[in-house]
Amino acid sequence: MALVKRIIGLAVGGALLLLPIISLPAPAAQDKCYECHSTLGDAPSKAFLVDVHRSKGISCAGCHGGNSATDDMDSAMSARAGFLGVPKGDDISARCASCHADESKMRSFGSSLPTNQYANLKASVHGAPAVSGKGSIAQCITCHHAHGILHVKDPRSPVNHANVVALCASCHSNAALIRQYNPSLPIDQLEKYKTSVHGMRYAKGDTKVAVCVSCHGTHDIFSSKDVRSKVYPTNIPGTCKTCHADADYMKAYGIPTDQYEKYAASVHGIALLQKNDVSAPACNGCHGNHGATPPGVESISAVCGTCHALNADLFSKSPHKRAFDALGVPECEICHGNHGIAPPTDAMLGVDSAAVCSQCHAPDDSSRGFATARAMRKLMDSVSVTEQRAGLLIGEAEQRGMEVSEAKFQLRDARQFRLQARTAVHAFNEQQFSDVAHKSLAVSEAVEGEARAALDEFVFRRTGLGVSTLIITVLAVALFLTIRRIEKKPPGTS
């Protein structure tokens, strides 16, 4: 039994030792170029030894031209044999594209790779002209290297998941280089990425976690301001969704996968995805781009304040701030939720079952919270109803042809004060809320007064018209009778 184990062990060990030799690509038949250059020990031929193209039987002449079947240098590298030498600038990518953009050629090598990489690269942000004046910013070899091109799944490939972050950073963290193209483009993406959950998991060797190309794409990278970009605001939720809404993919991480669904139905999602309002936050608005949170935000629970500054300011001075901190609960999220934030309504305020205040405050509450919530809701209802009534009356007066544009304009102030009152709710201070709410009430009541006066005036006009028409008609009839009387008289009589 021990002997059997020893034999199996030797076999496995031998196989492992032979693995590099077994896995070496099959050399191209009759590649005289490689045969000579490898004896010279130059770097390109060393790298080409493991190149994926060599394994497919493609010789040096595949890219450089010439005749690789002869060892006569003059004949092999003659113009007649189609020798191209070392391609420069855009000719480099064009050489790659001569096969990689040709579907029939690619299939003849048994490849199932897409054939649009070159077209995508040319259209991408990297396809723009380089400051050197020698073709585009990036050529195929910029990322894939020239002679040691490996399959993307090969861990030694620069574009492999394990290496691609460093590959992108090799340019994007280079201030001198990036400044030449876009001085406003940050160069700290890698540093931020390292602080993010994605970056931290990546550092631990997680092979599924998002890297640069997961969000930005590979050959088809566009500026984030370009609507075709995967990271254009309206496309970001869809990009994040690729992984985060895939229950199988995310299974190992134990986090929910319904964020996109909730977000799409939320006030932010509707604004961004349906109304194309790019000022509305996408996933990165709260979770940050490359880093864990947006710049300057200490914790994701405080991220709402970056846009909703006034609410956050009022909240930070409110009694809730201390209480929430003591309880260790998130601030805005506790009442508004996170991904599925619905448009806030007045129903959230108060002490009935639909109100969020009642989640913590009960009638026997020792704090003044219950009474404050009840009083604020009562006043808020009054503000809304009065404004609504004023609006209806103004509409009615306008429909009847009365000139009420000034009052209608004033009604905007009532709405503005009501919105301010809704913001003032976040101070959780009855007096502070009441001061603003009463401003709205005062304007609405004034507008209502003007609308009623206009409607009364309408009735007055109709009545006035009736009376004046009657008077004019009586006068006209009297005149008519006078004319008849005069015209009946025989001529000559007076």
């Binding site: 042809g401 000139e403 544009s405 006209a476 004319i483």
Partner: protein
């Protein structure tokens, strides 16, 4: 009361010799015939003009002719000034009825050949007043400084601008600069309340004086007949009272229109906004506006718009000068050709106005 009236009359008569005027009025007759009804339209036009003067003066008390304040001042008139809404609505409605009535009056005179000698001056002053009325309408349309008026004025003032040589200076004179701005508003206001009323009063004075002096025009076929009592009506008091009766009816119609269809103020003009869809001039310019739209951009070697403007100019000039070229009527025989031309013009105006309104 009767004694008081007689005393007052005697007092005035002693000073200004009223008897002569009363005698003259007593001998004034209006011929009664098939086209008698048309005689009323001169009076109705006059009545509407008087209403325009009165309501215009009342509006002047609050209107502010500046691009910053014009719209707001009319808003103020309509919402805050006691009966301001009524005055403004009547002014707008009356302006439109005035043009309509003047056009009817003009066509009735045309069909009845009322322009023939010796009434050429009456016709000319009438035509000048009609053109001034259109000027009143065009200048008054801009005064509320609302969106529609602003763009309609922009288009309207561009039209004379296409005339070769004099077009551009005329356009700049009308606008008070290369564009329609606050300067145009001040200018139009000046035309509307000072220049046009001044000229109009002079022409109106001559027109009325001549009507009184020469009497009502009698149709050609009755001209040589002796009109007996049944075929003539004393101007005073019969015709005057009938005129008054019609004026009362017109006043009633005006009041109903002003209350049931108050004139809309629209949106304030925004010089930087793009032109709203469906801008069109006032209805009485529609037939010309529509014609210019139908003329191809190039007609032979001429620009289509230039050709249109020149043709309209020529047509109006010929129309005004009809007493001088209608030789047949002048000789005393009815000219059928003039009737056909007038009918054709009337049909053309009606059809193109409807087309302009609908399209």
């Amino acid at each position: 009361m009767n004694t008081l009236w007689k005393k007052t009359y005697a007092w005035i008569d002693e000073r200004v010799d009223l008897r002569q005027l009363v005698d003259f009025m007593g001998k004034k007759y209006v011929p009664v015939h098939r086209g008698f009804l048309w005689y009323y339209f001169g009076g109705v036009t006059l009545f509407l003009f008087i209403i325009q003067v009165i309501t215009g003066i009342l509006l002047l008390l609050y209107y502010k002719a500046s691009d910053q304040l014009a719209f707001e001042s009319i808003q103020f008139i309509m919402s805050k000034v006691q009966f301001g809404w009524l005055i403004r609505s009547i002014h707008s409605w009356s302006a439109n009825l005035f043009i309509l009535s003047a056009v009817i009056h003009m066509f009735s005179v045309m069909f009845e050949r009322g322009y023939r000698a010796p009434r050429e001056i009456t016709w000319l002053t009438g035509m000048f007043m009609l053109f001034l009325g259109l000027g009143f309408g065009f200048s008054g349309y801009l005064l509320p400084w609302n969106e529609l008026a602003y763009f309609a004025t922009k288009v309207g003032t561009e039209i004379p601008g296409v005339i070769p040589i004099i077009g551009k200076p005329v356009m700049e004179f009308l606008r008070g600069g290369p564009d329609v701005t606050g300067a145009t508003l001040s200018r139009f206001f000046g035309f509307h309340v000072a220049v046009f009323p001044g000229l109009f009063t002079v022409f109106l004075g001559i027109h009325l004086l001549l009507v009184q002096r020469q009497g009502m025009s009698i149709p050609e076929h009755l001209e040589h007949e002796k009109l007996d009592e049944s075929k003539r009506m004393p101007f005073f008091p019969n015709f005057l009272l009938r005129d008054l009766l019609l004026w009362l009816i017109v006043l009633n119609v005006l009041a109903i229109l002003a209350v049931f269809f108050p004139w809309d103020l629209g949106k304030k003009a925004d010089l930087f906004a793009s032109a709203p869809a469906g801008i069109h001039p006032e209805w009485y310019f529609l037939f010309m506006f529509q014609t210019l739209k139908y003329i191809p951009s190039k007609v032979f070697f001429m620009d289509g718009e230039v050709l249109g403007v020149l043709l309209f100019g020529l047509a109006f000039a010929l129309w005004t000068l009809i007493p001088f070229w209608d030789r047949r009527t002048a000789r005393g025989s009815a000219s059928r050709r003039v009737t056909y031309i007038a009918l054709l013009a009337l049909m053309y105006i009606i059809v193109f106005t409807i087309l302009g309104w609908l399209l």
